[in-house]
Assembly symmetry: C2
């Protein structure tokens, strides 16, 4: 789900603001206005990948163990949104036309071509996010327009 990325970003920023204590998934769920199951899935992913320490369950809670500078937005995007979600299932074409005696059959080959095109576009898309860290994102939250300025003056 594409929401996963936003949830991960939002959760890490929340944990950053409360570094003095462990945060329960229920508290995060309340702040993000989402259900706890979704939050726990994301936190489990962030835990597995070394962003947070802590544990689930009663008296559980998480603490951020990276600085915001160490949290690359592209890495979070890659973690939460696998490439296949980005371009899969949006391709036309069946193999019926191949049965016709058509040497340049489109329908039979367009699938591979569009898959390549979408894959390359997706790789390019991800590079965009890799330019930034959560420190940049916090900067934009506090001084809105930071992202726009940085890209437009690039």
């Amino acid at each position: 789900m594409r929401l996963d990325f936003s949830v991960a970003v939002h959760s890490l920023l929340y944990l950053d603001q409360h570094r003095d204590r462990r945060i329960a998934s229920r508290e995060l769920a309340q702040s993000l206005d989402l259900n706890s199951v979704m939050i726990r899935n994301i936190l489990s992913l962030l835990h597995k990948n070394g962003y947070v320490e802590g544990s689930v369950g009663k008296n559980g809670g998480y603490r951020l163990i990276k600085t915001l500078q160490q949290c690359n937005i592209g890495e979070l995007y890659d973690l939460t949104i696998p490439p296949t979600i980005s371009y899969a299932r949006f391709i036309t074409g069946n193999n019926a036309e191949l049965e016709q005696d058509d040497a340049t059959a489109i329908a039979g080959n367009i699938k591979e071509t569009l898959t390549d095109l979408f894959t390359l576009a997706d790789e390019d898309y991800r590079k965009f996010y890799h330019q930034f860290t959560l420190a940049d994102l916090k900067n934009d939250i506090e001084h809105h327009g930071y992202f726009i300025d940085r890209i437009k003056h690039n």
Copy 2:
């Protein structure tokens, strides 16, 4: 719908291969294995934007009036996939936290920041497609690997 882009591309390639006659939306629907309504909606869009000439209805049909070189893939992407579809609805955050006396409230501001980030990423993403025309796409269909070669050796 993201499928619209693939349908537009596929339809134009089909029309290019049959420039000698007008193609009915029913024939296109059969070739693309999709329903005629969807095809007609896309063809209507392509007609409005000067890609094809022709008419709907009985004895209707469409003919491509551009060369494949004149059909920019990025323009087709912009036409069929409005920016809002790309990044909308994937943002967390409500305004509840604002009510707390928290000067650096995340939830209240993250929406604008993520919207900017996604919008900028989307603009960048579209630039990728603008590098190519349908002539390139046909090239890849006939000599698969063309897109990969062109990007990797860029």
